[in-house]
């Protein structure tokens, strides 16, 4: 009896949370077509704190995907999500994990944002038998947490060799690498360096910087003294833009090749003039002619009246993929885990068609395009090599 009344309390609280989410107009989309008890995805991610902007970007992608999914629903029922704010803080993500695991309404969990917060909660999800779907978790050990940890985040083992190839294709022989000193940046840098070496590209300097760093002048002097013919950025868009702007002020004229993570309209806005000529590649490019991409971009612009970026796209993909799994294999938690291993060729903005490798529990073969910034716009690279100075 006590356990029961307790469960009722949790249920009640959750319902309240959903009602509030609905009331504020944010979370669950209108489910006019699909009827019945909604199927609920639990989201653990940052809505406040240092990383709040990413949670806000997720929401846009989620809501767009739900609009689409709920035209017919999953197994005839509407799909919805409950977004719990973790601030990407492990102390809060573990509490949320316990909450989700013990709430029978939650059929699958999505998030968290940072590896610190996600991997702290992994063991709870694993023991509780609830799939933790970390769609931004590229830490190589994330999916090693257990057979309930799945990720469609683009693996750095996929991404970095391509960046190295791009640098080689551009004709660079000696590059300097600036990387964000987090688990993501550090593992990317290691993989990049290895593949660059195998392509005959020499890494002449490697500098890690802290996420909250804003001044890069002295770092760039170090880079300059290593005499590279290009600068590689393993950065997010905000810090990537800061570095790009400051290269000119220390007298560096070498071209910049940045990893796909800088791809965002914000990069152009923040880098300003200095952004022109930056090479990058991206898994997501709104002008990509693939039909999955075009349908996503059109719908996104129609709903939000702005250009989507990478985080919007991966969030959208995550919900579309999970909806496909739930629709096909059922709302049971174990069925969802087994379904992830079996599902094939789900339409995806990032992958074209997504299927999981059952060993790594990741998706391989992300599509990518080579891009360059021209006149404040990302455009497809025309194949012209810059004259290395």
């Amino acid at each position: 009896m006590p356990a029961n009344s307790n469960r009722r309390l949790t249920n009640w609280l959750n319902r309240l949370a959903i009602v509030i989410a609905l009331g504020s107009g944010g979370a669950a989309a209108a489910f006019a077509q699909a009827a019945g008890e909604p199927v609920t995805i639990g989201v653990s991610g940052p809505l406040t704190g240092q990383n709040a902007q990413y949670g806000a970007q997720w929401k846009k992608g989620f809501d767009l995907a739900l609009d689409e999914v709920n035209v017919k629903g999953v197994q005839g029922r509407p799909l919805q999500y409950v977004f719990e704010d973790s601030q990407a803080d492990p102390r809060q993500s573990v509490a949320i994990a316990q909450k989700f695991v013990s709430d029978p309404k939650i059929v699958v969990e999505v998030g968290d944002f940072s590896s610190t917060a996600s991997m702290a909660a992994s063991s709870i999800y694993q023991r509780g038998g609830l799939v933790q779907f970390g769609f931004t978790n590229s830490h190589p050990n994330f999916t090693k947490g257990g057979d309930y940890m799945w990720s469609n985040s683009v693996s750095q083992a996929d991404e970095q060799p391509r960046l190295a190839k791009y640098a080689a294709d551009l004709g660079f022989k000696h590059v300097a690498v600036l990387y964000l000193n987090t688990d993501w940046g550090r593992s990317s840098q290691t993989i990049f360096t290895e593949s660059a070496k195998s392509l005959g590209v020499d890494v002449v300097a490697s500098e890690g910087y802290q996420p909250d760093e804003k001044d890069f002048r002295s770092t760039l002097v170090r880079v300059r003294d290593a005499k590279p013919d290009a600068i590689i950025l393993i950065s997010y868009y905000a810090d990537g833009a800061l570095i790009t702007r400051q290269t000119r002020s220390v007298g560096l004229t070498q071209p910049i090749v940045a990893s796909g993570s800088v791809y965002s309209p914000k990069f152009i806005e923040l880098a300003g003039e200095a952004g022109n000529g930056v090479f990058t590649e991206s898994n997501f490019f709104p002008n990509d002619t693939r039909p999955e991409v075009q349908s996503f971009v059109t719908k996104f612009k129609a709903r939000y009246n702005e250009e989507p970026d990478d985080f919007n796209a991966v969030a959208y993909d995550a919900i579309i993929l999970l909806a496909a799994v739930i629709d096909k294999y059922g709302v049971d938690r174990t069925a969802i885990r087994d379904g992830l291993a079996q599902i094939k060729d789900v339409p995806s903005v990032i992958y074209g068609k997504a299927s999981f490798d059952t060993q790594t529990r990741r998706v391989a073969g992300a599509r990518a395009v080579y891009l360059v910034v021209k006149n404040g716009q990302f455009v497809l690279w025309d194949g012209k090599k810059p004259n290395a100075s």
């Binding site: 949790t10 704190g49 573990v94 994990a97 590896s115 610190t116 063991s123 550090r186 002295s218 923040l270």
Partner: protein, 607 residues
């Protein structure tokens, strides 16, 4: 050689930016003897007001600066009037905490209004640059330098030669005496906050333009660097703040040149600690500077502690143990487990800060040491957790005491700043000592807790284990406090000169307090590591230190029951406010401010 010139120029350029922040902080510190943690928030607000003016009103730079100046002066006056003036006469810790609460609230408001994603802040200055060495500096660099030096010069003249300036200095030296001489102390404080905040807002605007980047999270780092710079220059000394800032910029730049970018902040904080130890008055403080530092114990709000009868405490403990049998919801148990882990930290901090009077802003560093010790012992050496957790406690106790030992002779605010720096240094060493700690990748695959082969991961079992440790630590600590040891510590706290004249060896007693406190914090960190199975250098960041301090003050400094209560309240509040999603940190900040305002001695009272 040409690179050396470049590093020097770059150091001065960034030092220039720190200077803008440090001058405002120094002014407030000089008058109110207060580290204004909300200064960075005003800086952020200035940047956003500037952004709004440029975007919506298309104002040219001088007009934008004027708007920001006036608006931020008003914000500063509001902070002083609403947030700080009502706290006059309460313990010194109250306004300090209030500025932390205010910064939470302001940052959240900015984030709610302008969203969290960074924005570009363009400027309409001419785009010419002067080549120096291999690099160049632009018009904005010169403007920033001009504003920094100009503001410092104006302030210097204002403080030296105007009547209001006399009043400000009189208030800074002795508030009561100034009041008796007819100085309107409130008006002085209000003026100071207006000037400092206006300057802070202008710095936010200019720095935002410099980087073409503003975001709501920029405030904490700004405050931190500003504090470091002004300590180097001499706390409360306005010209000193400028020199300190330039020196900080240079040291950082040379640090990068020598060892690489990841060592930058390590250089900054080590420099800070060295200064605190050898030149606590900074470059310009001089020996003759008036000893305006409070005595160690001045942080404590004297009050009569609320004493609960013993049977009530035992009944509550019993109820806590019985709880999982009645309410088994894992979410509730996890939240309370978090509270027990926080309670271990709070017990440790309340002993050091409350009983021994050595306030600490870097307590998360102890958690990190404990967590890494136990994690690495189990992962690298396959040691069993029942052995590594007490071992982690002992290692933390030893390392923590060793790290803090040089800071024992510091007093008042300087020890707060020193501990803040030590906490940052621990985190940066973890980041950079890759061969031991795996650096930014963090430690993965940490095994779960186990006792003699039985794995403990069921929420109930973890809950009981943590609760039992908290109760044990609390009992030992209560016993210590009523013994000779506790009385001696309180004597040191209340009057260290008197204590010394009674033949008490201050360092030894403080070291004992830290050794005991370090053990509890280390155990808490170690258990956390095994619960999370993954830790990295960000798991225990400076926010955790601030949270721990808030818990201790909320419960009542030095009060054992209060520390546990504070931990429960502060681990529970964010979860209670979870339904309010985006607004919860805002509400949390407001609740904190109200508590400080209406019960500065904490819920249970100081001991």
């Amino acid at each position: 050689m040409s690179s050396f010139i470049d590093y020097t120029v770059n150091g001065l350029v960034i030092g220039n930016i720190y200077a803008l922040l440090a001058v405002g902080l120094a002014l407030i510190f000089g008058v109110s003897n207060l580290i204004n943690f909300a200064h960075g928030s005003v800086y952020t607000i200035g940047a956003y007001i500037g952004w709004a003016a440029i975007t919506f009103l298309h104002t040219p730079l001088p007009v934008t600066m004027a708007i920001v100046f006036v608006a931020c002066a008003l914000v500063g006056m509001a902070i002083e009037r609403i947030g700080l003036r009502p706290l006059q006469g309460s313990a010194r810790i109250a306004p300090l905490l209030a500025t932390i609460g205010i910064s939470f609230v302001l940052d959240q408001v900015v984030q709610l209004v302008f969203s969290a994603s960074p924005r570009a802040l363009p400027n309409d200055l001419p785009d010419w640059r002067i080549d120096i060495g291999g690099g160049s500096i632009g018009a904005l660099d010169l403007l920033i330098a001009g504003v920094g030096v100009g503001a410092a010069a104006l302030l210097f003249v204002f403080l030296r030669f105007t009547k209001l300036g006399f009043a400000v200095r009189a208030t800074a030296q002795d508030r009561e005496a100034a009041l008796q001489m007819g100085v309107n102390v409130n008006a002085v404080n209000s003026t100071v906050f207006a000037i400092a905040s206006a300057l802070g807002g202008i710095s936010g605007l200019l720095v935002g333009m410099y980087y073409n980047h503003i975001d709501p999270a920029m405030s904490f780092q700004a405050t931190l660097k500003g504090i470091v710079a002004q300590v180097i220059g001499g706390v409360g000394n306005v010209p000193g703040a400028i020199v300190g800032s330039l020196l900080l910029g240079l040291i950082e730049s040379y640090g990068i040149a020598l060892l690489g970018t990841t060592y930058r902040n390590l250089f900054a904080f080590v420099l800070l600690i060295l200064f605190l130890i050898w030149m606590p008055n900074g470059l310009f403080g001089g020996r003759s500077a008036p000893q305006s530092e409070p005595l160690t114990g001045a942080f404590i709000a004297p009050s009569k502690p609320l004493r609960l009868p013993r049977w009530a405490l035992w009944a509550m403990t019993g109820a806590a143990f019985a709880l999982p049998l009645v309410f088994g919801a894992p979410y509730l148990l996890q939240t309370l487990t978090n509270a027990w882990l926080a309670a271990m930290l709070a017990l440790s901090l309340t002993l050091m800060a409350g009983t021994a009077g050595q306030i600490s802003f870097g307590h998360a560093g102890l958690l990190a040491i404990g967590a890494y010790a136990s994690a690495l012992l189990t992962v690298d050496l396959n040691a069993p957790t029942w052995l590594t957790i007490p071992a982690a406690g002992l290692i933390t106790s030893a390392l923590g005491t060793l790290l803090i030992f040089p800071a024992f002779r510091l007093r008042g605010h300087t020890i707060a700043i020193a501990t803040l720096a030590i906490g940052e240094v621990v985190s940066l060493v973890i980041l950079n000592w890759e061969s031991l700690t795996r650096g930014a990748m963090g430690v993965t695959g940490i095994p779960p807790l186990s006792i003699f082969g039985h794995e403990i991961y069921a929420p109930r079992e973890v809950y009981w284990l943590c609760l039992a440790i908290v109760v044990a630590l609390a009992l030992v600590q209560t016993r210590l406090l009523t013994s000779h040891f506790g009385r001696t510590l309180r004597a040191i706290r209340d009057d260290d000169v008197a204590a010394r004249s009674y033949g008490i060896r201050l360092d030894r007693y403080k070291a004992l307090a830290f050794a005991f406190g370090g053990f509890g914090a280390g155990v808490s960190g170690a258990i956390t590591a095994h619960l999370y199975s993954y830790i990295n250098h960000q798991t225990f960041d400076s926010q955790v230190s601030l949270l721990a301090l808030t818990m201790v003050i909320l419960g009542g400094m030095g009060n054992v029951v209060g520390a546990i209560l504070g931990a429960i309240v502060l681990a529970g509040l964010p979860e209670l406010f979870r339904l309010t999603a985006e607004y919860r940190i805002l509400i949390y900040g407001i609740v904190l401010l109200l508590l400080i305002r209406f019960r500065p001695q904490g819920l249970m009272g100081t001991l």
